[in-house]
Symmetry: D2
Subunit: 473 residues, 4 copies
C-alpha cells in the first residue's frame, strides 16, 4: 500500500555503471526502476575520466531530470541514488550522491542503509577539525577516508569501512574507478550486472531487466569490489561476515520482478500468501489484497484457499505530494482519496483482507472500517508476515515511530483495535519456509530483528539520528 | 494499461454539487476520483449566489489545485471538469469549465462527449458575428443559448439542445441554478447522488463513494435536470430517446468501483474474463493481465480456467509526463520503463496474456515480445472485447488514428503481426451476456458502434475536429 | 519617479512591423523600449501569411519572452503590446494582443487608450448574443467588426470605428494585412517608421532608434493606415478631427529620447524646468530632481537659476514587484527602500525639489519629510506642470483615485499638507510655451483636460470601467 | 553604467545586526540597499540564541526573499550577504553566508574581499583531511578556525586571521556573538551603526540611512570587533596596519549616498568631475554622463565648465537577466537595448561624454559610435579616474580580463581605438585632491594599485581563483 499510509519507509536505492557511452541515461532508467525505494530526491554523478559532474534535486527521478539536463552529463561512468520521502526535513543538501571535490581530485558517494555508530564517529571527527556539510550518516565515510593519511584510496576505504557498524551498500566513484562495498551482514540487497562490456550495480535486479543488462551475481557480505577500465576486482575487506539480508525486502520493499539471492519476490510473496491460507483456515466468500504490495500474497491466498480473488480495494493512481487533506467534516463523510472499497464486490460478503504487515495499526483499522461501511458482512485480516515488534536501525524508517502496535499489544488486542472479525499473522517459520532460502545449519541468512529482536550487529544508545537541521527554504 | 500506450482516450469527466458549504473541496475530491478520465487539465467554477469564480489549469487535479487556492473558492455550489491528455495541442483556453461573463450574469459550462455537428453550427454562428474563444465543440452550446433571444435560460437551453447531435453530458451553472443535460442516446454515463441535503452529479458513481454521497439514480437519455435551492426538477427536452450507453465504459474506461446502470464495472470485467476463458479454451501454465485495466478480466479468466493467476507484467507507478524516452540504441537493448515482464514468473511457461482491447496492435506486439524475451515458452493473447473496427465520434480519441488494426486485418493476420501463439477476441454476444444488462426487446441499450459500425446518431463528413490551434507557450 | 508611488499610470504601448524576416525579435525589442508604458503583461502575435500565432504572459517583456520562445514565433509580420501594472485584478485573459480565430481566418488586436462608450456598446452586443472573453474595453472593436456583416474587413473596421468614442491607437493584423487606426483627436501618440523595406508602427519614436529604424511620420488623428505586401495605404475614416495629444506624454509618460510631433521629450522637459525657474524665482543652495522622470526638468531649473544641480535623492534600481513592505515599527525608523535622500548633499542646505506632477500629494509629503530628516534647512517644491484637477478618461489611471489633491485644495493648502516651505506649479501658459508646439489659431493641439477640465470628447456617466472580474488564480 | 557592459564587478556586500526584534527584516532592507554590490545571490542567517537558521538563494534580494520566508526567520540577530554576478559558474553552494553546523554549535560566515593566499592554505588543509564544500576562498577561514584546537572561538579566530593575506571584511556569527574583522589594510569599506540599542554593521553607510540607523564609526584596519548582549568590544588582532581603502569605491562602486571615511561619494565624484573639467579644458556644446555611475562626475564637469548638462544617453531600466541578445543581423541594424543615445539632444552638437573608467574599451567604443550615429559632431571622452593598468586581487573582478586596455596602450592609442575626438583621463593627483582625504605624511591612505601597480599586500602566483567547479543544474 502507500508508503505514507503504511509508515514503513525504505531509505534509498543505488545504481552505478562503469564503461558505457550512455552512462547517465542508463543510470536514469536504473534509478527510475528503483523509484519505489525513495521519492524524496534523486541524483546522478558522472565521470568522463576528468572532473566529476553532479546533477541532483528533490522529487522524483522524472521531476529532477529531463532530456536536456541528462544530455549535459557527459561521461562513460555514473553512480546514482534515490532517497526516501521523509515527512518534513530533508533538504537538497542531503540528496545523494555526495560529491567531494579537492585539489587532488573528486570523490562521489551513494549509500543505502544506516550507520549505527555514525554519531560517535562524527563527534571524533569534528573534534579533529572536520566540518560536516550534511546531517547524513553517509558523510562520515568520506571524512574517515580523507583522514586516513597518505594511503591509496583503496586502503583508505578499507580502513574506513572497518570503523563503520550497521547496514551499508556503498557506491563510490572517482575519476578513475568505481568502488562497491557491502556491510559484513549484507543487510541491504546489492547486485552486479553486465551490459555489453560494462558492469553495473543496483540495489535490485529489476534495474537490470529494465535496462537490458544480464544479472551476474549478488555482492557478498563484507565484500569490496573495484571496477575500472581493466575490469572488476573483488576482495573481502573483512573476514567476519554473516549473511543477514533484510526480510522485509521480500515481504514489502522490493519490486515483485526483482530477485533477491536468487528468489523472485512475487513468487516468495505468493508463497507467503499460500502458507498464510494454510495457517489461517478461514471460511469466507472473497479474498482481496491491499494494493499494491499485498496483491501477490492475496492471489496466493485465494489460489490455495479456493476462494475467489476480487478487487475489493481500489488505489487512486493520481495521488500526488500536494494532495489536499480532507478537513474533519469531510473526513466523517468518508472521503477516501487514496484507497477506496468496491461496494459492488464486498457488499454482503465475508471478506478476507490480505496485507503484508501492520505497523501502527491505524491504516488497518481504517481499511476494515471502509470495508464494513461498504457492506462487508465479515472482515478477516490476514497478514503475510509475523507481528513487527522491534524497531529497525538499518535504514528502515520504523525507528521514528514511538509505537509499533505489536510491541505493546497481543494479536487479540490488535484484532480488537482494528475492528476485524479475525486477525492472523504468518508465523516466522511459515514465512521462512515460504521464502525458501536454503538454510545454513540453523542460520536462515536473513535479518529477523523486527520480528524477533535479535539484531545482527551491535546497537548504540544514540543510534537514532538526531532531527535533521531545519533549514528555511 | 497506460493510456499513452493504448491510444484509446476518454474525453473527460464532470462533477457538480449544489448547496453544500464545502462545495469546492468536494468537487476537488470528486474530480480526483474521475482523474482516470482525463489528465490534461482540470477546473472548478464555484457560485456563492453572486459572481461565479473559476480556477483552472493544465495538469492533474493535484497539480492545478492546492489548499490555499481551494480555500479562496467560496460558495455553496460548484461544477468541475477533468480533461483528457492530448498528444500536443490543447492549451489552457480549452480547459473546462468555461465561464462566460456578461453584464446580465455568468454562465459556466462543463461537457463530456462530442458534438458531431459542431463545425456546421460554428460556421453559422460565426457568420452571424459570434466570436469563439476556444477550439472546443463545447463552446457552441453557449453561443446557441445566447442567440436564443429573450427567453428564460431554461427555454434557451432546451432550444439549443435540440440543435446538437452527438454525445453530451452537460453541466451548466449560473448564480442561481445548476442544469444537467444528457444526450438522447445517453451515450456517456452521468449519475445523480445526494450528500445531506445537497445534490451532486458525476460522470461515474465512484465519485459518490469517495465523498460519502449516496447514489440516487442515473440521468436518463434526453433528460434535463434543474437543481436549485428548491430542489431537483426533471423534464425531458426530447421524446425521441434510445439508450445507447458506451460499451467501452464497461470494458476499459470506467473505474472498477463504479456502477453503470446498476452494474459494477469490476464484476462485469471479471465476467467478461470468465466468458473469454469459456470461448478461448486454451491450455497454459499461467494467466497474466496487462495492468491496470485488464486485471479484473484476467482474474476472471484464471478463476474459470483453473490456471494460476500471476503478476507476469509490472507497471512502473512513477512514469511522469516528462519521462525521457530511450534513444534508439537503448531501445534495442530493451529498455522498458513503463511496463516490465517478470522473468521469475514467465520463464519457461505457457502464458495467457489477457488485455481488454487492441487498438493499433503496436503495444500488444511489444508486450508479446517482452514476454518471449523474458523466457515465455508460448504467449496466448486473449482480448476481453470484440475487434474494434470503427472509429468513435462520441468523445473517444480513436478518431485521430488512421489505423484501427482490426479494420484492415483478420484475427489471424493480427495474431501474426503481434507475434502471438494464439489470439482470441471475446464475441459480441459473449460480451453482452457477461455485462448482463437486461435486454429491451432486441435492443441491448449499449452503443456497439466501434465493434459493429452501427452508429446510434447521424454522422457528418466533417465530424472530426480540426487540429487545435497551435499556440506557442 | 516610481509609477506605484506616483499613482499615475499609462495604459499601454503598442508596436507592429510588417514584412521583416526578424519580425518577432524586432517586436520584442520594440516592446522592451516601451516597457515604461506598462509592466503588467506583454504579448506578441506573428503572422507568416497563414495561421497567426500568439505568445503572451503577465510580467515584463524580459520575463514573458525568452530566446527559445521567440524563435518559435515564425513570421514576417507581428504586432505586440505592453500592458500597465494595475494594483490587483488584471489576469492573463486581459493581456493583449487579443487573437480571435474563426473558420474564416484570424484577427489580432492591440490597443492603447480607452473607449469611453465601451460599456454601452457591450450591452448592445451582448443583447444580440455576443459573448465577451475579457473585461477589456478593447474587445468591443472585434465584436463590432464581426457584426458588420458581409463587408470587406476594411469597411467593417471603418464602420466599427465610427461607433467608438474616446482615445485609441489600434493595431490590427490578419494573415494578409496590418491596420493602424488613431482616434479623431489623436489623443495617444503613434508613429510610423521604416526599417529597410519594412514598415513599423510604435507608440513612441524611441522604439525606432532602438531597432535601427528611421522615423517616417506621426499617424494623423482619424487616420486609417493599411500595410500589406504592396506597401502602406492611408485614408481618413472620419473628417471630423481635432488634434488633442495628451500633454502628460510630454510631462511624464514618454521616454526622454522620444519625439512627439517633432518635439524631443527631454528637451521639452528641460524647457519646462527653465520656465518653472523663471516663474518661481526662489533663492536656494541646491536643486534636486525626483528620479527618474523629473531629472530633465530639474537640470533645466538649475541651469537657468544658476544653482548647483545635485543628486539629492537616490532611487534604488532593484525594487522588484515582490518587495517586502516595511511593517509599521520599521516605517517609523525611516525605511526608505525605493527612494532615499543623500544626507551628504542636502544637510544644512536650502533645497529646491523639482517634480513633474502631484497626484494625491502623499508621495510629495513623504519626500519632503525625508529631505528634512536628512538635514535640509528649507524644502521648496517646484512642479513642472499645472495642478491636476480632473480625472482622465483616455487611458491614464487617475480615474481610480477618489482624490486628486488639487481638485479639492488650493496651492497654499497643498503646500501645507506636503509640508514644504514653498510650492510652485508651472502655469498652463508657461507649460505650453516650454513645450513649444506651433499654435493653430487659438488651438494648442494638446489635451489639457486634467488641468482645465475641457475634455475633447463626450464623456459618459459609466465611462469608468467596472472593477475587473476577480479570478482566483 | 551597467556592470555587465563595464566588465568591472564588485565582489559583495555584507550586513549584520545584533539585538533587534526585527533582525531578519532589517537585514533584508540593509542587503537591498547594498544590492548594487552583487546581484548573483543573497542570503541571511539569523540567531535567536539557539540554532542558527539560514535562507539563501540565487538572484536579487527581492527574488530570494518574500514576506512569508522572512517571517520564518525568527531571531534578534542576523548577518547577510549579497554576491556579485559572475558570467557563469557560481551556484547556490557558493552563495553566502556560509553556515557550518557541528555537534558543538554553529558558525555563520559572510565575507567581502579576496584572500590572496587561499589556494595555498586550502592545499594544506586538505592534506590534513579537511573537505571543502565550496570553491570559495571564504571557506578557508572556517577550516582554519576549526583546526585551531581547544581555544576559545575568539582566540581561534585571531589565530586564523593571522594566516590570511589579502582583502577581507568578515562578519561571523554564533548562537551567542557576532564578530567583525577587517584586514590590516582596510581594503574594503566596513562601518558600524546603531539603531536603538542594537549595533549594526554594513559595507556602506547607505544601509544605515535606509533602515533609520545612526552612523557610529568606520571599522579600523586590523580590528576585531565582538558584539554580544553586553555590547560592543574592540581589539586589534594585529599591530601592523596601514590604511589602503580601495579608491574605486569612490570612483565607481559605492552608492552616491554612502560616505566612506567621512567623505560623501556623490560629492567626491562631482569634485572629480570638476577637477577633470579643469584638467581637460575642452570647448563643447553639451556635457553628458554615462548612466548611472558617471552622472555625478558629469554634473560636476558641466557646472565647472559652464556647459549645459544634458541627458544624452538613456538607460533602459527594465533590462533583466534573461534579456535576449540581438543576433548579428540585428546588431548591424543598430539594436540598442541597454543604452540609447538621445538624438534630439546630441544631433549636430559637440558632445563631452563623461565616464568613470575604461576597462576594456569596448563599451566606450560602442557609446562613441552610438553618439556619432545619433548625429554628434564631435565626441570628447573624459574619464574621471586615471588609466587602469593593473589587475585587482582584492575582490574586484578585473583579474579575469586578459586585457586592461590601458596596460597595453597609450592614451592616444586608446582614443583612436574608441574613436573619440579627444580622450582625457583624470590625473592621480587630481583624483586624490578631488576625493580630499587628509594625507598622512606622504601616505594617501588609499589603494591605488590598479592605477600605479603598488599593491599594499604580497601577491602570489596562484592568487587568481581556479575556475569554479562546473555544476550541471
Amino acid at each position: 500500500m502507500l508508503a505514507e499510509l503504511k509508515g514503513l519507509n525504505e531509505e534509498c536505492g543505488v545504481f552505478g555503471i562503469w564503461g558505457h557511452p550512455d552512462a547517465a541515461k542508463i543510470t536514469y532508467y536504473g534509478l527510475h526502476s528503483l523509484q519505489h525505494r525513495g521519492q524524496e530526491g534523486a541524483g546522478i554523478v558522472v565521470s568522463n575520466g576528468g572532473r566529476l559532474q553532479v546533477l541532483k534535486g528533490e522529487g522524483l527521478v522524472t521531476e529532477v531530470f529531463n532530456e536536456g539536463k541528462i544530455e549535459k552529463l557527459h561521461g562513460k561512468s555514473a553512480i546514482g541514488h534515490v532517497r526516501y520521502a521523509t515527512a518534513g526535513g530533508g533538504g537538497i543538501e542531503n540528496v545523494q550522491p555526495f560529491l567531494f571535490n579537492s585539489q587532488n581530485g573528486s570523490l562521489a558517494l551513494a549509500h543505502n542503509g544506516n550507520i549505527v555508530n555514525a554519531n560517535a564517529l562524527k563527534h571524533q571527527l569534528e573534534a579533529q577539525g572536520s566540518i560536516f556539510q550534511t546531517s547524513s550518516d553517509t558523510e562520515v565515510l568520506a571524512h574517515l577516508i580523507k583522514r586516513s593519511g597518505y594511503l591509496s584510496l583503496n586502503d583508505q576505504l578499507k580502513n574506513a569501512l572497518t570503523m563503520l557498524k550497521g547496514a551499508y551498500a556503498f557506491l563510490l566513484m572517482t575519476e578513475t574507478e568505481m568502488m562497491v562495498a557491502l556491510d559484513p551482514n549484507g543487510l541491504r540487497p546489492l547486485s552486479i550486472g553486465q551490459i555489453g562490456d560494462a558492469y553495473c550495480v543496483a540495489s535490485e535486479t529489476c534495474a537490470f531487466d529494465i535496462i537490458g543488462a544480464e544479472f551476474v551475481r549478488d555482492v557478498m557480505p563484507g565484500e569490496l569490489i573495484v571496477i575500472d577500465d581493466r575490469g572488476l576486482h573483488s576482495e573481502p575487506f573483512t573476514l567476519s561476515t554473516s549473511s543477514a539480508i533484510c526480510t522485509m525486502e521480500y515481504v514489502y520493499f522490493s519490486r515483485p520482478d526483482s530477485n533477491i539471492h536468487g528468489i523472485n519476490v512475487h513468487t516468495a510473496r505468493k508463497s507467503m500468501g499460500k502458507q498464510l491460507a494454510m495457517e489461517a483456515q478461514i471460511d469466507a466468500d472473497v479474498v482481496t489484497g491491499v494494493p499494491d504490495s499485498s496483491i501477490s500474497a492475496a492471489i496466493g491466498y485465494a489460489e490455495l484457499a479456493g476462494i475467489p480473488y476480487e478487487l475489493g480495494l481500489i488505489k487512486n493512481r493520481y495521488v500526488g505530494r500536494t494532495f489536499i487533506q480532507p478537513s474533519q467534516s469531510l473526513r466523517e463523510q468518508g472521503v477516501k482519496m487514496k484507497l477506496a472499497p468496491v461496494r459492488g464486490v464486498v457488499e454482503g460478503k465475508r471478506v478476507i483482507m490480505v496485507d503484508d504487515s501492520i505497523v501502527r495499526g491505524t491504516t488497518s483499522r481504517r481499511i476494515v472500517t471502509m470495508l464494513r461501511e461498504a457492506g462487508a458482512k465479515e472482515v478477516h485480516v490476514c497478514i503475510s508476515s509475523p507481528p513487527m515488534k522491534n524497531p529497525c536501525f538499518y535504514g528502515i524508517d520504523t525507528s521514528t515511530h514511538e509505537e509499533l502496535i505489536a510491541s505493546k499489544h497481543s494479536v487479540e488486542e490488535i484484532r480488537e483495535i482494528i475492528g476485524a472479525d479475525s486477525l492472523t499473522f504468518l508465523s516466522v517459520e511459515g514465512m521462512l519456509k515460504a521464502i525458501g532460502r536454503p538454510q545454513d545449519g540453523n542460520q536462515c541468512g536473513q535479518c529477523l530483528a523486527c520480528f524477533t529482536g535479535n539484531y545482527p550487529t551491535e546497537i548504540y544508545p544514540d543510534t537514532v539520528l538526531p532531527h535533521e537541521k531545519e533549514l528555511v527554504r
